[in-house]
Each structure stands twice: as C-alpha cells, then as structure tokens.
C-alpha cells in the first residue's frame, strides 16, 4: 500500500506537496476550509476533507479537526507545509502520539528552534556570530530588553516565521503599538502570541542557507538564497546564488549552517537565516520548515527538497552529500494579492480569469484557478514564478518576460512591483540590500501617459456601449462581454 499523507495546509504550498506525493507514488489527502473548497489543492488531491470554518483557528490551525481527519482517512503521515502549524511542537508531538509521521523536524528540535534566544546562545557558544536579542518578552519586560539591545530593532513572533508578526521599531514610543500588532498577527498566524526583540541592521543583506539533515547524522547545505527584497518584512524576490557574495563569505555561511544544524541535532529541511553586513555576518534564526522560496534552491541544485523531506521522514538516508554543485542562477517572484499602488495593502475578490507564464526556464507554483476567492483570512501569496538561467542576467531576462505574461483578472497583485524591480539598475547590478523595496515609492514613471489616456477612453467607450446589454452581476460584466467579444468577432 502506498503511504498516505495528510497535507495540513492550503494554497500553493499544498499544491506543491500534492505534486511531491504524486512524484513519489504517495497518496495525497487534502483539507479545505469552506471558502477553499474549489481550491487547486483540493481538486488535485486523491482525497479531500472539509474543515469546519474559514478562520485559521477553525481550519488550518485546528489541530483537533486535522487529527480527526487523519484518523478517519487512515493516513500514515502529515506534512504541515509552511506557516500555520508547521513549526508548532505541540502539533508535531500530537502527530507522533497518534502514530503519524510528522514530515518535519521532531518536536524537540521545533521547540529548540522556536526558543530563538536559546538557539542563538547555543550557536554563539559554537562560534557562530549572532545579533543581540531577547527571549520571549512580556510587554512589561520589552522596554528594558529594547533599551539593552538598542534601536532600531525588530519585534518578532516566537512561534513562526514568514514575515508574520514582525514590526520594526525605531524608538521607545513606537514599542507599545508594535508589540500589540505583532502579538495580534502571531496569534492569528500561528496560534501563539509570544514575541521577542532583536537588533536590526539597516542596509544589510538578508541571506539564508538551505540545509537538509537526516536521522542518521548527515547534514548538507544546498547553497544560499538572497532574500533582501522585502517589504514590511515580507519577502518579494529571492535568488540563488546571492549576487556579489564573495566565495569566502559563501563558504563561511554554508559552514556555519551545516555546523549549526549539527549542534542543534537538526532533522529534515530547514533554513539558517543570516544578516550580511559588509564583511560581517550574523546568525538570526532557524526556520524549522520548508520555505516559500525553496524552489530557487531546487532549480540550481536539481534536488527535490520536498522529496528529500519525505525520505528523511521515512528514516532513509539523504541521497545527496556535500558539496552540492550549483548550476546557473534562479530567481523567484512572489505573486501576492497586495496592491503596490496602494501601499501594498491586501486586495481581495474573485479571480475571474488568469494568465500564467511558461516557456524556457520558467517554473510556476500556483494555487490560482478561475473562480477562486481571495479572502482576508489567509496569506496573500497566490503563486510563485521561478526563473532559471545559465547566468543571472539570463534568469532576470526570463523573469521579466514571464512576469509580463502573468495576469490575475479581478485582484490587484505585486506584478507591477516586480516589473519595476527587475528593470531597476540596482537590482540588475546585484548591489541591493533590505532597503531596496522601499525605493518603489520614489520610483519615476516610465510609461507613456498617452497610452493610459487612450486605454481609459477606449474602456469607457466600450463600457458605455455594453450598458445596452442585459444587466449582469457587477463583477461578471466584463467577463461576459469579453467572452461575447470572442464569439462575435469571429
């Protein structure tokens, strides 16, 4: 009998894991909240079960419901994806207790990595440079911790990553509201409102190292990723190799990550995050999960990271050994339901239609399908476009082409930001840091405004002409006329 895997997640990462199951001959069991019932991960799974509500606490954070489905569907293993319960040691322990293989680090390692201060101390003791920071703090303790560490600093969620619950604080006055927002977000995203404080280096690069470790003591680093293009601590673009990183710094980071993974007794896929500031680097934290940006590593190494997670979870040895050769260059752009022309605020609505890119060097990891709803309940990430090229310039050229082919009908996305970033001289030179995305606001217009006037007028004229048609759902109107156009004009 094929192993049966419950995928305790949604969206593009659930689709990614269904695909890994197919590739490995495993049976994929999906779960869905009411609003996700037509989701791509549901349609692609071998079996799919309903969760009781839309709110994360009722659905993808709902341990009791997930474990009950696992029992009813007779699954052998649970893959948590990223976010939600991925780094929750209680969930991993509850899976173990129910005799389910948790596809990720063991509960003890999750607990260890979740205690950011302890991890930092252990790695510092092992000779790895770290940034000053605190352990989980109460609101009352936070001020003293902040003053000890110094401003600017970050409030970060202890219970998970992915940029949720991170707030930059430049002064004591900003502390109370940052604490409030960070705790609120952390509670919604991970069901855990603990936060800690960490020094922030403006102008540094955010570089992380992908590691894989098996239960037999083998550890391998699979190159680094530069994730410095961030907005509100949400990564927007990631690439591997990191441009302009000296080979001595690269070696230092890979060795620190492999060494750190051994020190922590790490198992499964994980990421060691660093800030690189000139010739200095500082360990930040371990992301004890598969990450959103894992495909860039897959494209330059050829390794199926989710496949290796399953191997490790079944107790097998890793199929790869260091040093892992890297071929060419890969870049990922996140297509999120955030409007860059409106402060990157969330954009919700129905996806009426879509165009996804393809062709040479392009991989698409997407949860999009016509008719799906983008709601306030979940992460805004809709799809990832990943480009590979023999050189960084080729990867950028392909990505520009692919992003221009990407369209989500009915919801504003980060596509315009990517068009700008990929065309920016600083990005193209590789000399960018975590401040880069902030320059979006100060960008100079490029396009020809006459085209906008012509487009608007043609739109208004067509819209006026269409008004004579029978009225339709407000949102469906253009979809309908578009289809009629196609039929009429043949």
């Amino acid at each position: 009998m094929a192993w049966k895997v419950l995928i305790a997640n949604r969206g593009e990462i659930a689709v990614r894991i269904v695909r890994a199951c197919r590739d490995l001959g495993l049976r994929a069991v999906g779960v869905y909240s009411p609003i996700d019932r037509r989701g791509r991960h549901v349609l692609l799974a071998d079996e799919a079960y309903a969760l009781p509500g839309d709110a994360p606490a009722d659905s993808y954070l709902n341990m009791a419901a997930l474990l009950e489905i696992a029992r009813r569907a007779h699954v052998d293993a649970v893959h948590p994806g990223y976010g939600f319960l991925a780094e929750n040691p209680s969930f991993a322990a509850a899976c173990e207790h129910a005799r389910l293989t948790f596809v990720g680090p063991p509960p003890s390692v999750l607990a260890e990595c979740g205690d950011k201060v302890r991890t930092r101390e252990r790695l510092a003791a092992a000779g790895i440079p770290v940034l000053p920071g605190s352990g989980p703090v109460t609101d009352a303790d936070a001020r003293a911790a902040a003053e000890r560490i110094g401003f600017p600093l970050l409030i970060k969620a202890a219970g998970g990553g992915g940029g949720k619950g991170i707030h930059l604080v430049r002064s004591t006055q900003e502390l109370p509201s940052a604490l409030r927002l960070a705790r609120g977000e952390a509670r919604t995203a991970f069901g855990d409102d603990r936060v800690y404080v960490e020094r922030w280096l403006a102008g540094a690069r955010h570089i992380e190292v992908q590691v894989l470790a098996d239960t037999r003591g083998h550890v391998v680093a699979l190159g680094e990723r530069d994730c410095s293009v961030q907005r509100r601590h949400q990564k927007l673009i990631e690439e591997s190799p990191a441009p302009g990183l000296s080979s001595s710094m690269r070696q230092k980071l890979l060795q620190a990550a492999e060494h750190g993974a051994r020190v922590l007794g790490y198992v499964s896929a994980g990421t060691f995050e660093f800030l690189v500031d000139g010739d200095e680097c500082y360990f930040l934290e371990v992301n004890a999960r598969l990450q959103v940006e894992h495909p860039v590593t897959e494209l330059v190494t050829g390794v199926d990271l989710v496949g290796q997670q399953f191997r490790v979870a079944r107790g097998a040895e890793l199929e790869i050994a260091p040093p892992v050769p890297v071929y060419g260059h890969a870049i990922e752009c996140r297509i999120s339901a955030e409007d860059p022309h409106d402060g990157f605020l969330p954009s919700t609505g129905t996806v009426h239609a879509l165009a996804e890119p393809g062709g040479p060097g392009i991989r698409v990891d997407s949860a999009l399908a016509p008719g799906i709803e983008v709601t306030r309940h979940y992460d805004p990430l809709l799809a990832k476009v990943i480009a590979w090229g023999t050189t960084r310039a080729e990867a950028i050229a392909r990505m520009k082409r692919a992003i221009a082919e990407t369209a989500v009908g009915g919801v504003a996305t980060t596509v315009p930001f990517h068009l700008w970033a990929l065309d920016d001289a600083a990005f193209q030179s590789g000399a960018y840091d975590t401040q880069f995305a902030g320059r979006w606001e100060a960008r100079r217009p490029r396009g020809d405004p006459v085209r906008a006037v012509l487009a608007a007028t043609a739109f208004a004229h067509m819209e006026a002409g269409r008004m004579r048609l029978p009225p339709d759902r407000q949102n469906g109107r253009w979809q309908k006329t578009a289809r009629e156009e196609q039929f009429r004009e043949k």
Partner: protein, 172 residues
Amino acid sequence: MSDYDVTFAKEARTVTVREAGGGLQLTVEGHTHEVALIPWVPPTHFILLVDGSSTPVVVMRAGEELRVTVGFDQHRVRIARSVPVPRRGAGGGSRSSEVRVEAPMPGLIVAVQAQSGATIEQGAPVVIMEAMKMQMEIRAPSAGRIRSIRVQAGQEVSKGQVLVELAAETTA
C-alpha cells in the same frame, strides 16, 4: 462620434472617439490613433493596440476614477461623456470640519480603540484591522472629537467603508 472629457494628472483634455471597422479611432491633442482594447484576462487585463503596436494594460474602476496600469505605472483617470462635469479635487481639501476615517483595505475589525465623544490627538490609533495575517492601526488623520463609531470588533468591513467620524479641530 463621441467626445469624452478626460482628466489626467490634473489636466483635462477632450478625446474624440470614432468607431471605424473593427476598431476605434481616437483623436487627442490633434493626433489620431487607431486603437483597440482587446480583452486578455477578464475583467481587468487588456491588450491595448495603438497604431499596430501592442501593450498590456490593466484597467480597474475605483468609484468615479479609472486606474490604468501600463507597465509598472498606474495612472488615475477621470472620464465623462462630453457634458462637462464639475471638477472635484482628487481627495482635496473639504471645507467641512467633519472627517471620515475610512478602511484602507478590506478586512476584520480586531479592536476599536477610540471612544465616542472622546477628544483625540492627530495620529492616535482609532481602530485595529486585520487582513491576510497582517494587522494595522488606523490612526486619526487630525486631532478632534469622535462624533460616531461606525464599526465594532469582529465586524468585516470593505475597503473605503467609514469606520469613525471625527469633528476635526479646524486649524484653517
């Protein structure tokens, strides 16, 4: 033939539209262009053909405004058929001392921090909202007295919905 008043970057122009063959002829500032707007990804994405040359554009209606994205630029365009409409400044200075604090995004009201009747400072948090795992404090755009609170915690709001009405301390 139809004339449109197109207001863009605070300048009004007249664009004349003629339907010709399968497409449109648009005349703006003395230049005539062959234009077609071909649905690409409905309802928002089109291919704009101008004199045979092709550009993807995104057109979204936001109230009385059209937001037209060409490449990474977004242009806000107001457009009306030939009969001139009274100009309204885009978000420009209302003389009324009443200020409506609107939701900048669709989402959930997590907490209401303002109290009806209270006097608050400019920048004071009035409401905390949440969408897509991001929380945000909505702050008072000016100092004043809270006239009414229109939402409560746990309520879903749409973008632009009025959260709080404020009698602003007029500094004018």
